[in-house]
Subunit: 252 residues, 2 copies
Amino acid sequence: MRNLTILFGHMQARSGTRKAKRRRSNGDDTRPEHGTAVPAWGNALPSRSERAELKRNSIFREAARCFSRAGFHGTSMDDIAERLGVTKAALYRYVANKHDVLFATFNLAMDSSFANLDRGEKEGSNGLEKLRIALRGYLEDLIGKLGHPVVLLEDSALLPDQSRALIRRRDEAERRFRKLVKEGIEDGSIAPCDPKLAVFALLGAINWVPKWYRDDGEWTAVQVSESLVNLVTRSIAAHPYPHRADERGGGK
Amino acid sequence: MRNLTILFGHMQARSGTRKAKRRRSNGDDTRPEHGTAVPAWGNALPSRSERAELKRNSIFREAARCFSRAGFHGTSMDDIAERLGVTKAALYRYVANKHDVLFATFNLAMDSSFANLDRGEKEGSNGLEKLRIALRGYLEDLIGKLGHPVVLLEDSALLPDQSRALIRRRDEAERRFRKLVKEGIEDGSIAPCDPKLAVFALLGAINWVPKWYRDDGEWTAVQVSESLVNLVTRSIAAHPYPHRADERGGGK
DNA sequence: CTGCGAAGTTACTCATGAGTTACAGAGTTG
DNA sequence: CAACTCTGTAACTCATGAGTAACTTCGCAG
């Protein structure tokens, strides 16, 4: 029936009718790798386990896209497999079950969240700047490499243990965002407001982006992230800057 | 097994073990209603068809809550029925199928959207005020009487025809919101910005509220709506007001 | 009290989708 | 080339959930 045999992400895949194999010359072949000898090409090529890891990631990325569009329960493992050009059973070589996929998807988003909070706290000169750096980086990841997960939208689909673990991470992230808001209020960069409400509003606007952002649209992920974070953080800025009306100001 | 027999929303329900029937004295009895005679109590009591309509609405409301929490596919008709104290089959007396429920849920939200746009356009003194009235009313409905639907989140779960119809309404609503932003820019109440992006951001923050708002929380729906809309519209206000830091400013 | 319709219930059917199992080909190693 | 491993496929099992069918029970008109 369906014999797509599209490359598994950017991976190899073989099956019935095979074609379009090995596009670029990153040939997954001629390489020893198990003899503990020096790897050919000086580690420039992915090892077996690295390839597996890459495949896992492409599963998560594609799953995130599907979940974002159709929801967890609205997406079948067959759907994900088909978009990767393989069969469902192949996925189970890399993931234990569907819940794990969702869990991983969410966790990747949380990883991004924490990483960008770290960066913001390090690089920002005041509360507002720290917050903006963190939010911008997070949003870039969300609609860039993470494949548009609508984060924490279907947390109820997780298994109880996973759910607890995730909620804990999410709360911790929200707490750190609120801390930045408070810091901004104290250093005068952010206008007095309720940090809890502010963070909900900011994250709401940001987490909503995957619902309307299109990869093939007129804006890049970086442009959207920059513009949107500029826009939303102005709501709490102590000294609101004017919007750069040029960034497509006046709209289409 | 499960013989709850809780009242169907605020309706009557009868079945196996019956109890707690007819609490208040709104007795659904002593009333002619089919003889074309003057209805007793002067139409103060709901007629048969009105009761059916009320039940339909309580289905939609409860469904909205479930869909919002677990997603369309993650919610079974049994779930909805159980929370209403009836069995699944009873629901099918009032709705044709599950898609219809989702469609109705979305449409109620869109109805609110349009109604509040009308009101905003009528009552607001400038673009910003019109926008704020519309958004506030919409959000109040969303987390108030509509039962927290996360709107348009699973539009892909709709049947093609429904989806088209809904997307059309949604686009029309977004267009009207954008129009208010443009109007505000022209009359000087809103700072120059990209209306499209601004509306996405505003609606994102608002549509996200059902994800964190709790009926039993410390804030009422009206308070949240007021505060949140104040907060988010400041992002595009030409002359940003300070936040009323008292509304739980510095919050817990 | 009889008969009828409105509003539920219980007990099904039947498709879909998660996860498994048995098998197959490619490439490597001896 | 035989044996073995890695990676995938085809073809299942089996639970769940949408929708239906055949009852039951109540309210009420004659």
